[in-house]
């Protein structure tokens, strides 16, 4: 079996800044995937656009570096085509909550068995430091010179309100505990959403490593099966709780699909069903009249 290495022949340097939180997230992901005994040939990493979204190039597994905001629908297509793959949708907070905001909401509703991993550095990295939907009020950027005044999005509360299947928050500076969450997110059957705080050392001078250490804490004695309590936790700030907020096991998207209920063969291996086709091509069949 292949292993999850970080390079390919001819790999160029990594284009992340030294000290960036993305390195830690990559290392966690490689370790967890390996630890779960997965084969890179059966893992698909689908990313959007942004610094975080460059991940597929720094882990040797199947990958698709797609478009800004679109990783979730594309990952959904991958999962539908072949439910046997471990599918991870991945990108930054701008990617998933701004451009991809609609897909985020509907991904939660659709509940395909995908792990959504959002690198939340509370800023746009790749386009050099503009505000993102999670930038804190008052932070000044070149594009928001008077300081951000919009209410930051609360993705965890949104997800819990949507009765999402798995909702968690980690922090790239705390690898062991975050790895444990990541592992559970991947193992969880259904749409598992994990937001990971990730310092951007180049453009976010507010939410630094020190800031995250001071303003986060790991939840103890929280029962993630309780939606009300989970929502309460998600609304807490300064300090921000870390850990698994909510978990709700329900039928996945794939399990609800009629074409997979009668037949487990992945779409990628299905061939034309001549008998079914013959039944329809030559007879006008009545549309149902309701």
């Amino acid at each position: 079996m292949n292993t999850f290495v970080s390079t390919r022949p001819g790999s160029k340097d990594i284009s992340w800044c030294p000290g960036c939180g993305n390195f830690a997230i990559r290392n966690m992901l490689m370790a967890v995937l390996a630890d779960l005994g997965l084969d890179p040939a059966n893992v698909a990493l689908i990313s959007g656009i942004g610094q975080a979204a460059k991940m597929p190039h720094y882990i040797q597994a199947n990958g698709f570096h797609t478009l800004h905001g679109r990783a979730i629908p594309i990952a959904t297509g991958v999962k539908i085509a072949n439910p046997a793959l471990t599918v991870i949708a991945e990108g930054g907070d701008g990617d998933m909550y701004a451009e991809g905001g609609n897909h985020f909401l509907h991904g939660l509703r659709r509940n395909a068995d995908i792990t959504l991993l959002v690198h939340n550095n509370q800023v746009y990295g790749l386009t050099k430091g503009q505000a993102s939907p999670t930038t804190m009020i008052g932070m000044k950027t070149p594009a928001q010179p008077e300081g951000v005044f919009e209410e930051p999005l609360n993705p965890l509360a949104l997800a819990i309100a949507s009765n999402a299947s798995f909702v968690a928050r980690g922090y790239s500076g705390q690898a062991d505990k975050t790895k444990a969450i990541l592992r559970q997110a991947i193992l969880h059957r259904g749409f598992s959403f994990i937001d990971i705080f990730q310092p951007c050392v180049s453009f976010n001078k507010v939410n630094t490593y020190d800031w995250y250490e001071e303003n986060t804490y790991w939840m103890k004695d929280h029962d993630p099966t309780q939606r009300g309590a989970a929502l309460q936790k998600a609304l807490e700030s300064f300090p921000f709780p870390l850990g698994i907020f909510y978990r709700y096991q329900k039928k996945t998207f794939e399990e609800n699909i009629v074409a997979y209920q009668n037949d487990q063969t992945p779409l990628s291996q299905r061939r034309v069903k001549i008998e079914a086709l013959s039944k329809y091509v030559n007879f006008l069949s009545y549309e149902k009249t309701a």
Binding site: K12, A41, V43, F64, H65, I80, L85, V258, V281
Partner: protein
């Protein structure tokens, strides 16, 4: 008679759709050739909807304007459809409607439609009309009774019985109308009946489609509904996404992982999908997209027809990449070309578009029986080795396409410019070689391009050109015009075009491109590709399909 053109007008909600659903199979089984088109307003209740049913004793699928029989179920329908009437049109309708128009149309033969039962309660008008049509065409009533049971069984015995009574009442009224008997068609048994949506949907299934993603938009939704209702039978997944952007993205993800996906949309939805089309172009992910055109810009005329999106499809997506555009002219072509679209997309790893329009997808026609077996569906996916390179530079421009989980290798696809592995690159050499590799596919594709179909007179002076859905109507107009100097060239592939068309053009004194848009988009494309010729235009762009009469009139004036 060889054929009659029947126009039925009423308000949305008066059941014209159900009438069509019930009557078309009845008429087909009775042994007629059929062509049926819809003219609908964008509203759920009220307004005016027209159904045109051409019942013929031979293959006739042109869209005729003038009706032999006009059945008006509402006043507004009568007013709206006056341009479909002549003094020879037989008028049928409730007394209230006919009386109102008596003065203006006093010379016409007229029959009052009675829709009260002997007990004086009203009967379903669409069923009375169905019975009436069966009556004046002298059909066997048992055909109606049988289809009524089949179609309405699920709605309970009372519904079936009420319909039956109404059908009978209408039948009796139809029987007394003379002179509308149409010869039966000897080939009826060799033909089947479907609409454009079904032809595209079934062609997709024949091409191996096993995933369909969409966001509802008229007139493209019919394909999705048809397949959604048979998803279990066909073993395919149909999902309605949150928007067109997601629908197109999911399709790309599905192809990347080895499914064969179809997206169905209309112009407004297509506009939202453009970034994905560009992604398909860069990442060399196959894509098959059905675009059923309607008039724009923006929301335009949501339930009407236009060939206005050729330029959109031709230029969709930013950047430069190869693509293929089909525009079927007949239902059989829609089936076979949609099937082919999947094989081509898979083989060349690029977007393939099927361009239809509202008129095409909503019209029913009899078509020669399709062949489900003996279908050649080709698959081009390779099993990957551990050193697999998704974008291997090859002389044909086509790199062997692996999919995740099939072989030892990993498959890295990328919407950024990339090296052979799929990793992002800004290398000067690669940044030139990769786009060249992608565009190289056009050479082989051009060689595979479908030649246009030729009809009309071999020794033509005037060459008419049409594309897509207008085929049958233009074809009939050429026949009817009686001119012996007309040639007709119909294109069902619009891009890439075969190179060797000049011989067609050079023979003609005049070349006239018939299309349903305002700027002559296909004419402009031909002008650009074949600058040594002059391409004139014959256009219609009011949201209605050409009538045979429109074109005949213009041909006579040439």
């Amino acid at each position: 008679m060889m054929d009659i053109n029947l126009v039925i007008g009423g308000a949305a909600g008066q059941g014209l759709n159900t009438l069509e659903t019930l009557m078309l199979p009845v008429l087909k089984e009775a042994g007629f050739h059929l062509f049926a088109a819809k003219d609908i307003m964008s509203r759920i209740r009220g307004g005016v909807n027209l159904v045109t049913i051409r019942v013929a004793g031979q293959e006739k699928s042109g869209y005729r304007q003038k009706s032999d029989v006009f059945i008006a179920l509402s006043d507004e329908a009568f007013a709206w459809a006056e341009n479909r009437l002549t003094l020879a049109t037989i008028l049928i309708g409730p007394a209230t409607v006919l009386d109102k128009w008596r003065e203006k149309w006093h010379k016409n033969r007229r029959y009052v439609l009675e829709s009260k039962s002997p007990g004086a309660e009203p009967m379903p008008l669409n069923m009375v009309v169905s019975g009436l049509i069966a009556g004046f065409l002298r059909l066997d009533f048992s055909l109606l009774a049988e289809k009524n049971t089949l179609l309405f069984d699920a709605q309970g015995e009372a519904r079936v019985a009420a319909n039956q009574a109404a059908l009978q009442a209408g039948y009796a009224q139809g029987k007394i109308i003379d002179g509308l008997e149409v010869e039966r068609w000897s080939d009826a048994g060799e033909y089947s009946l479907m609409n454009g949506s079904q032809a595209v949907a079934l062609g997709a299934v024949a091409g191996g489609c096993n995933f369909l993603s969409f966001y509802p938009m008229s007139p493209a939704t019919g394909v999705a509904i048809y397949l959604a209702q048979r998803a279990g039978d066909f073993g395919l997944v149909v999902e309605q996404f949150e928007d067109e952007i997601a629908a197109a993205g999911a399709s790309i993800g599905a192809w990347y992982a080895g499914a064969r996906a179809l997206v169905t949309t209309s112009g407004g939805g297509f506009a939202l999908m453009e970034e994905s089309i560009s992604l398909a172009g860069m990442s060399e992910t196959p894509m098959v997209l059905h675009l059923a055109q309607r008039p724009g810009p923006a929301t335009g005329l949501p339930t009407r027809t236009m060939q206005g999106d050729l330029n959109l499809v031709l230029h969709a997506g930013h950047g430069e990449f190869p693509r293929v555009i089909f525009a079927p002219g007949t239902l059989a072509e829609a089936f076979y070309l949609t099937r082919k679209a999947f094989n081509l997309a898979d083989k060349y790893q690029l977007p393939v578009f099927i361009l239809t329009d509202q008129f095409f997808v909503d019209s029913y026609t009899c078509l020669p029986r399709l062949k489900a077996d003996g279908i050649e569906t080709t698959y081009h996916v390779v099993k990957t080795e551990s050193d697999y390179r998704r974008y291997e530079l090859t002389s044909s421009g086509v790199s062997p396409r692996g999919i995740p989980g099939h072989g030892n290798g990993v498959v890295i696809a990328n919407g950024n410019e990339h090296d052979e592995f799929g990793d992002t690159t800004e290398d000067e050499q690669l940044s030139q070689r990769m786009p060249e590799k992608r565009m190289k596919k056009m050479e082989a594709l051009a060689g595979e391009s479908l030649a246009p179909g030729f009809g009309g007179h071999e020794e033509y002076k005037i060459l008419l050109i049409c594309w897509g859905s207008t085929y049958s109507t233009v074809r009939e107009a050429v026949d009817v015009s009686g001119r012996d100097d007309l040639g007709l060239l119909h294109f069902s592939q619009l891009w890439p075009l075969p190179a060797d068309l000049d011989s067609y053009f050079q023979k003609a004194d005049r070349i006239i491109v018939v299309e349903e848009n305002m700027t002559g988009q296909f004419a402009a494309l031909l002008q650009q590709l074949f600058p040594g010729n002059r391409f004139e235009s014959m256009l219609k762009y009011n949201g209605r399909h050409f009538y045979v009469e429109d074109i005949v009139e213009k041909l006579e004036a040439l």
